[in-house]
């Protein structure tokens, strides 16, 4: 029987980025394979969000390359295969008159053709996404009336409605209480397993990450350490950045 090896899905090579004279990322290189559940860990200002934005094609690197599905990110066709849940403040949606169902449905727009779009398949994708994120009961409620944790589920459902292959999340649990964070990351793990979805999320919360992610990419402007969670937390570079971690004891 032939063993199927996972394919590299994101390849980052020699990435450099700075805001003016202030360097943010220096010579970052790594590969993420299909189906990986990866945490990007690092201190505030370490370049996590910038790295994700470069991978998504929202920022252009000064040097280096990003290849997704084997193609350069800027020339990538069918970009709807990537879904993004940005870091956001609650006030951004304040008073935006949109129901949960409308927001989740907006996740199907990028992948739908302008003419002759199949409304039925979009609606089915929305129903599945609502049910997967367990927010079917909120479908008709306004997004700005939901709590932070509930809203986060709406954004995940929107991302899933586009039926992506890669899900990128930037500080997805910012402003969400600890118990809800644990539920959230278990939920991410579940969809990673159930749908074979490659998940890449940024966080500065070491505890959550080391207990939930399979692979950790630790960056602090430079790539500090990359590998399985155990390998990273036991690495000298990681200990130098964070000190001894409770998981090691």
């Amino acid at each position: 029987m032939q063993v199927k090896h996972p394919q590299p899905i994101i390849e980052v090579q020699g990435l450099n980025f700075s805001y003016g004279a202030h360097p943010i990322l220096k010579d970052i290189s790594f590969t993420i394979e299909e189906g990986d559940y990866v945490a990007v860990l690092g201190p505030n200002g370490g370049g996590k969000s910038t790295l994700l934005k470069i991978i998504l094609g929202l920022l252009d690197p000064e040097q280096g390359s990003v290849r997704v599905f084997g193609e350069g990110i800027k020339k990538l066709r069918h970009r709807e295969r990537i879904s993004y849940v940005p870091q956001r403040a609650a006030q951004e949606e304040a008073q935006f008159p949109a129901t949960v169902a409308e927001v989740v449905a907006s996740g199907t727009v990028a992948g739908s053709p302008l003419i002759g779009r199949t409304q039925a398949s979009s609606q089915k994708a929305v129903r599945i996404a609502l049910s997967t994120a367990d927010i079917g009961q909120f479908a008709d409620r306004l997004v700005y009336n939901l709590s932070g944790g509930e809203r986060q589920r709406v954004y995940i459902a929107r991302a899933l409605a586009g039926q992506p292959k890669i899900l990128v999340l930037d500080e997805p649990t910012a402003g969400v209480d600890v118990e809800a964070q644990q539920h959230f990351y278990r939920f991410l793990k579940q969809i990673n397993k159930d749908f074979g979805l490659t998940i890449l999320f940024a966080s500065h919360d070491i505890d959550v990450i080391t207990h939930q992610a399979d692979t950790v990419l630790c960056i602090n402007q430079r790539l500090v350490s990359h590998g399985s969670t155990d390998d990273v937390v036991h690495s000298a570079a990681f200990r130098q950045l964070y000190g001894a971690h409770p998981r090691q004891h």
Binding site: L56, G57, L58, L76, H78, R79, E80, I82, S83, Y84, V85, P86, E93, Q95, F96, P97, A98, T99, A101, E102, V103, A105, S106, V109, A110, G111, S112, L114, D134, F138, D140, R141, L142, N145, L146, S147, G149, E150, Q152, R153, R158, G162, V168, V176, A180, H183, F184, R186, F187, K189, Q190
Partner: protein, 300 residues
């Protein structure tokens, strides 16, 4: 022989019928029929485009474009070109400039609007002062005048109005997606810059079409106030849009009616009614209680 009660009842009925007839005498005038047709199209157009401006926090965009259209009107008076078309062309050109400048992210959004708003006004003032005698019709454009809507205006307003409403409805899901979250839309490969440009161009056309009815100084209000009133009801995006159109049409129809009988400026009357509706909407409580004590995630 008729009894007193029967005679009284018959005269009351005639009086009511007379009153109702006199209420509709305005339709005996061609210019009022034209004003209602144009007003109806603008009543739909303004909130349909306006809701996207409001949720994208571009509420001042309509006002800026309106001031630029004033420069277009001054150019039209100078060159003797059709006012609505010239105003539309000028605002379209300016809208391209606004969006280009906004995309560079070198200036704050509201600073760009302030630049174009004052620039448009300055151009208009200079042209009008340099070429004396051009300002005859200016007041009607500033505040709206229902008597000035010509047959040609109706054709232009209907044609362009249907194009703008049709385009907005056709791209409704795309405009919603970029209005809710531009970064997510961009990450998924949507042509965000082109859609933004198209939206602002449609706002530019809408502003130019509404000049005759609402006037330069008040068109911004018609694009924004019905939307703000509708948002107080706590509906989703689609229902909010539909309600905003209904409130806008009520404002336009009632405003035209009142301005005809009381000889008020149509634009001001329409906007005052829209404001009254908005004030009323502030007393609406949408009844959307927050859920509390719910576990956020369940993994099955």
């Amino acid at each position: 022989m008729m009894s007193y009660t029967a005679r009284h009842s018959a005269s009351s009925t005639e009086r009511i019928r007379g009153n109702i007839n006199s209420m509709f005498t305005l339709f005996h005038y061609d210019f009022m029929v034209r004003a209602f047709i144009a007003g109806g199209i603008i009543g739909i157009l303004a909130p349909v485009v306006g809701i996207f401006l409001v949720v994208k926090r571009y509420s001042l965009m309509a006002d800026t474009l309106a001031h630029i259209s004033l420069a277009g009107l001054a150019i039209s008076a100078l060159l003797k070109t059709p006012p609505v078309i010239t105003a539309a062309a000028t605002t379209l050109l300016a809208s391209l400039g606004i969006e280009r400048l906004r995309a560079t992210r070198k200036l704050f959004g509201e600073s760009i609007l302030a630049l174009f708003l004052t620039g448009g006004l300055a151009v208009a003032v200079v042209i009008l002062s340099a070429a004396k005698g051009l300002s005859g019709n200016l007041l009607s454009y500033l505040f709206g005048s229902i008597t000035t809507v010509s047959r040609l205006d109706i054709w232009i307003i209907s044609t362009l109005g249907i194009v703008v409403i049709g385009t907005t409805l056709f791209l409704y899901r795309q405009f919603f997606a970029i209005a809710f979250d531009e970064d997510v839309a961009r990450a998924q490969g949507m042509p965000v810059a082109k859609l933004n440009m198209l939206l602002i161009m449609m706002a530019a056309v809408s502003v130019s079409l509404a000049l005759r009815i609402v006037g330069v100084l008040l068109i911004g209000a018609l694009m924004v106030i019905p939307v703000l009133a509708s948002m107080q009801f706590g509906f989703g995006f689609k229902k909010t849009t539909v309600l905003a159109v209904i409130l806008s049409l009520i404002s336009v129809v009632a405003g035209l009616w009142i301005s005809f009988y009381l000889n008020f400026a149509s634009g001001g009357t329409i906007v005052l009614i829209a404001l009254l509706i908005f004030l009323g909407s502030l007393f609406v409580h949408p009844g959307t209680p927050r859920m509390v004590g719910k576990t956020y995630f369940h993994v099955h």
